[in-house]
Every structure is written in C-alpha cells, then in structure tokens.
Amino acid sequence: MAQEDRAQGDVLIRVEHLVKQFDGHIVLNDISTEIDRGDVVCVIGPSGSGKSTFLRCLNRLETPDGGHIYVYDDVDGDIRHGIDICDKTTDIDTHRQRMGMVFQQFNLFPHMTIMKNLTIAPMKLQKKTQEEAESYASELLSRVGLSDRASSYPGELSGGQQQRIAIVRALCMRPQIMLFDEPTSALDPEMVGEVLSVMKDLAEEKMTMVVVTHEMGFAREVANRVMFLDGGDFVEEGEPETFFSHPKSDRLKNFLGKVL
C-alpha cells in the first residue's frame, strides 16, 4: 500500500524535500512546495536549473531520488487523501491519467489523425465509447479553433496548431492538473501567442496548472504564483507582482536583470 497522507483545504499536490540527481550531479536539491486547486504556478529559472526535471517528477517521468510528492485527488468531505507518487507501489498510470502533460516538442502521434490522437487514450484507458470520446474531442477542438483539422495528420499542421492539439489531447482525459514543459520554446515567434492564449483560457476556467516557461509576460499576467529555481535550489517564490517588481534574493535579481 502506498504511503498516504491527509490534508484539508485546497491542496492538490504537496512536494516534500524532493531530491533528484543524475550521475551524482544534484539537479533538484531538497525542494518543498504546495500546489493548490486552481493554482497557476509558473516555474522560471536559467537553463539547467532543474525546472523541467521538477515538472517531470510531478508525474514521475523522472523518478525522484528522495522526498515525497503527495497527490490529494481523493476527496472525502473536507479531508483529502494524498497518495505519495514517489512510492514505488503507487499505480502511477492511474495518476497520470488525471495529470495532463504538454511537451516542448508537442509529441503528437504522427501515424494517427488528429481525432485519433485525441480519442485513443480516453477510449483505451477510460473505456469511453467512440461517440463519447469524439464528441468531447470535437467540443475541445472547436474551442481552440481547429475543428476543421480533425482528419489531418500532425505533420500537416504548423507548430502552433500541433501544440494546441497537444493541449487538447491532454484535456481529453479530463485531468485535474495540467503540466506544461516549456510549451512555447520550440515554436516560431509568431505562433507563441496562439498557444499562450489557449493556456490563458484554461487558467480562466480554473484549471490547475504548473508551467515551466521562459515567457515572463505570461507568468506575470496569468500566474498566481511564480517559482524561481536556480542550480537545483528553490530560491524564491511569490505572487507575480511582488516577485517581478521586488525580488528579494540576489540570484533572482540577477536572473531577472538578464531576461527582462
């Protein structure tokens, strides 16, 4: 039985003393934080700071070397039951079904049509009928303005379109949290806006989101919390307004000085 924990309030994910190293090199050094339901958390930091690794630990695409990540998705009255996904006995596949992930490189399935990309997981994993899966997928497709591409193949779409499809693919599983791993970094500049606007709509619908990004404008405008990672350390976090205008630590000041 996986290690359990109970909590009250809106906490969805609690990260405790997370440690990750690659070949003895420490990438995440004792990270602790909480993510509440409806939070939009942007994670920023220089490249190699461990921000993508942090995100990938949240759905165990990277296996942490230490610490706990409790996911509180089992609501029982006011009490939430959290399950530690770092625990080897936790059925990670079930958890991943409720955590959507969007990658830098889109990673759409090139051998399937867009509609198949969107419906394969709900049909195989949630036992949805084809009609159910397709009608929900169509609804989401029209919301991102790509209804006419349902029968296209990913290779026929632009990067921005592919990334919007990738977001929809994750949403088709009706996740309770969405993880974004530098979703606009591989895009041509003129396509960044269309993807960010879809993400902004999601945030307005109160989707819980963790976004690793270099888009400071997006972080400032959409996030309710910004986290700064540097060299594997969790240096500073705060509301975007104070975070960007009055950074406390020198490391953050230094970083913001370079990117803003």
Binding site: L61, N107, P110, I120, K124, L125, Y153, E156
Partner: protein, 231 residues
Amino acid sequence: MFSAFYDALYLNFVKDDRWHYLTNGLKVTLIVTLFSALMGVVLGFVVAIIRSTYENTGRMKIANKLCGLYLTVIRGTPVVVQLMIIYFVIFASVRIDKTLTAIIAFGINSGAYQAEIFRSGINSVPKGQFEAGRSLGFNYGQTMVHIIMPQAFRVVVPTLCNEYITLLKETSVAGYIALEDLTKGGDIIRSRTYSAFLPLIAVALIYLIMVLALTKLVSVLERRLSRGTRR
C-alpha cells in the same frame, strides 16, 4: 552450332525429366525460406521486445542476457556451420526431416538478424513519443502496442524485406546437409550430365528472377508506407 545447344538443353533439362530437379528444388527453397522467415519473425520480435524492455525499464535482466548471448553466437558464426551443427550434432541421434532441420537452422539464424532490425526500428521512434504515451496514462505495454510499434513497423518493413531476400539466397547452402534445394538440384544435374554451364546458369537465373521480383515488391511497399505516414 544451334543443334549443339539444343542437344545440351535436351541433355541437361529434358532427358530423364531432369528439369524436375530444378522445380522440386525450387519448391524446397521456397518452403525453407518462407517458414524460416516466419520462425525468424516470431523469434526476432520476442528478442527485440525483451532487449528494448530491458533498455527502457531495466526489467527482464536474465532474459536480456540470454538474448545477448544468442545474438552474439548466431551473428558471429557462419550459417553453414550452424546448419551442420544442428543437423549433425543436435539432431544426430534423431533423424528428423531435412527440410524441417533447415527451417529450424535458418529460422534461428534469421531471428537474430530480424531481432536487431526490430530493435533498431523501436529505437528509431523518438523518446518523446514514449513519454507522451506514458504521460496520458498508458502503461509500458500499451504504449508499445499503440504508440511505438505502429511507428517502428513502418520504419522496419523495407529493411526486413531485404533480410528476406538475403535469407532466400542464403538457403542455397542447404546442400551441406544433402537437402535437395534449388542449388543442390542444379548441382545434381551437373554431376549427371558432366556439363556445368547450363544447370548452374539456370539456377542463378531462377534466383535472380525471384530476387528482382521481391525487390520490386519492396519498393512498391515502401512507397505505400511513406504515403501513409505523412510526417
């Protein structure tokens, strides 16, 4: 001049129904190739799955070791030697059918090469595809079946067909265990008629025609598949 050629043709192929050596031999060659290819596909597929599962997850350590040994031994020794070991050593005391022996030997041999072809196909699918599948909640097996295999298959088909062409030609050493395949058939005619030219040229032509037909088939298949992918 022409009558001499007709005489030679008559002597080598018509007299005593000698062309039967070629047609019967061809039948044996085709049977051995087909079934050893099938055996190799199954064997190669299983080995490739074990190897890439170990590479991706660290599971099946012992099975992976055995597969590694199999690949090293089979790919490191000549197929004729393997054929003779299987016939004269392993099946020494039980006289089983030569065709079956040849199928087993060539099947085991081809399995090793096909395993590496499958594995390179699986490895050619970008890692992000695997992660995308897993992130949606598919487990390892489901990700392989629904996401990775269909993409690997498209990559692998042309190389796999070339392996079958190679296999077809390699079965010509089956004569070492006195199996009367196409090559052996031509050789028997040669030993009866004491003329080497016509029977051996005929054998070569038959192989060439089959290889050309298969090559044509591969290029058609290749075009079909690339049309389907639309990357």
